[in-house]
Symmetry: C2
């Protein structure tokens, strides 16, 4: 994986552009003189002009007039690092570096590469567009430009690799809750890692990890959510099976708000899990699914299983029961409700 | 991880040097004329001279005299790619590329980097010296120059991540068997990943893997074995606890022979495991350990456990029993026999 031809932006340092943007934001729609800005930031007026140019390039609509100065007219609907940092309510997740790509192969790939080089717990990778967005088993996850959320969080939990099944469900629960809390959409979780609205796929979790014997070295939580894409944006093959917030509500929604809410819910759930265990995730998960009690056919890496879904166990394994095999516990697979 | 300042050598292609070496080897101790070699290889005599220079640089002792030609006097005791390929009896393991380093940080690190870039099942990484050799939980594994085996094998098993505990034991069994079969040393396995002779550590396995949800993306099996190091080579802190084949037998031993034997045993065990399951590994493991029935204290990532070791279960988990908790199943940990 290389970053050739891709623009990356790391923003854990407070650069003059950040302060400048904050001033313009506080005065949104109003003129701020170049001289006042220059004095406040201890920069020359031509340096201010240069910083404003960078912000405009990122998509901020800033008007500039001689003698009047600068005024911020609009903040673009982009996953901009400074907008995210401004709205984040987390303690750790997304609080360190945020790596933003206008276009990348997959945010999980970038996050894994960063983590392999030692990137810390809580570092976030986001992209406006993925060219090789992935779901489970290397399936394609369609991520068109500037309409949806593609984000990957690096985590370094002091947990054994066997906890992975629990964490997938925890992440899926946080994703479903994001839709309910922020938009009021009734979302379901489909075991193991899909988020559905009205039976159609709206988002998903892709968890990847590096394991050294009994310890997780790092974990990458990929989060994909269809936000502002209209139906025609999705390839025909998946259209009947796919939805977005825009398709469900008829309105566009701020991706920055949704991403920040997801990270907050995820962090809260994760802290609670570390403190009090997995029980609350299980009960939440059961509320968010309609699968228990149904007959299903599940294709796993070890084979095909049929039976009635009877429970989710304390490891986060789905419990399937049939007459031949009794109870079967499954970590992950492709599920078809019969 | 970068390879700065490290010499790598990939030899899956048959280069003229390979054929040249084979001819010299078949005629070891005898003169082979430069002209005969040039004719046979369709190279100029100065090209032959250059190839011989490369072999000399790798450590082969080759005498050259005008009018006589070249003769191979000695093959160095190094983990040379062509020597390994010449002696390998495997079908897959080590049959593709072998990446050799005179010095590297850790062969597992190099193997992980190769695997992350798509390197295939069976590709092998070897090093004469590791500067950051690792054991479990990032502990140091001492690997002095040109005396021992540091090797890492890339595997891409179609198995679920939960199979990792079985594979660690399978590798440890193959490592212990290598010592018994090749040298007649009675070796024990110490759960989960150490190989002991006479109660002292002589080798170990370090298994690392990349996991995507329910599938193993790749696995790296690191194999370290103390072969020709005398006691004084080991740091004082670990000397009383460490041994080598040289220390046990008083004689040096060919590392190439040992590595090839290990790969063959590992491949055979692995094929058998895929075909018939884990049972034979469990029974083999039990023969190679003296831990069952003993009281132990085991420190794991989830806490400290005390009890009697009663079994190894079908998942490769160690079963510990005590009055308070009943049966406890452990994947990995630091074990102390009481």
């Amino acid at each position: 994986m290389t970053m050739t031809g891709i623009t990356g932006q790391i923003s854990n340092e407070v650069v003059p552009g950040n302060i400048l943007l904050n001033i313009l934001r506080r005065n949104k729609g109003k003129w701020v003189s170049g001289e006042a800005l220059a004095t406040h930031l201890s920069l020359t007026r031509s340096a201010i002009w240069k910083q404003v140019g960078i912000l405009k390039k990122e998509g901020y609509e800033i008007e500039s007039l001689p003698r009047r100065g600068y005024r911020l007219l609009a903040i673009p609907d982009l996953l901009l690092v400074q907008e995210i940092q401004d709205q984040l309510e987390t303690a750790d997740f997304g609080r360190g570096e945020i790596h933003r790509y206008v276009k990348t192969d997959s945010t999980n790939n970038q996050a894994k590469e960063l983590a392999a080089r030692g990137a810390a717990h809580g570092i976030l990778v986001i992209a406006e567009e993925q060219t090789r967005g992935r779901g489970r088993l290397d399936r394609t996850w369609f991520s068109p430009r500037e309409e949806n959320i593609c984000a990957s969080l690096i985590m370094r939990p002091s947990l054994s690799p066997g906890m992975a099944s629990r964490l997938v469900l925890l992440c899926a629960v946080a994703a479903a809750e994001t839709l309910t809390e922020a938009i009021g959409l009734k979302a379901n979780v489909k075991w193991p890692n899909d988020i559905l609205v009205g039976g159609r796929k709206i988002g998903g979790i892709l968890l990847e990890m590096a394991v050294e014997m009994d310890a997780i070295d790092y974990m990458v939580v990929g989060f994909g959510l269809n936000v502002n894409s209209p139906a025609e944006r999705f390839p025909k093959e998946i259209r009947s099976n796919t939805t977005s917030i825009f398709m469900e509500t008829g309105k566009p929604f701020s991706r920055v708000v949704l991403l920040c809410r997801f990270l907050k819910l995820l962090e809260d759930r994760y802290s609670k899990f570390l403190e009090t265990g997995f029980e609350s995730v299980i009960s939440q998960w059961k509320e968010l699914t309609d699968m228990v009690g149904k007959r299903a056919s599940i294709r796993t890496i070890n084979g095909l299983y049929n039976g009635e879904i009877v429970d989710l166990d304390h490891n986060g394994f789905l419990v399937l029961r049939n007459n031949q095999e009794g109870e079967i516990r499954l970590f992950s697979g492709d599920i078809t409700i019969i």
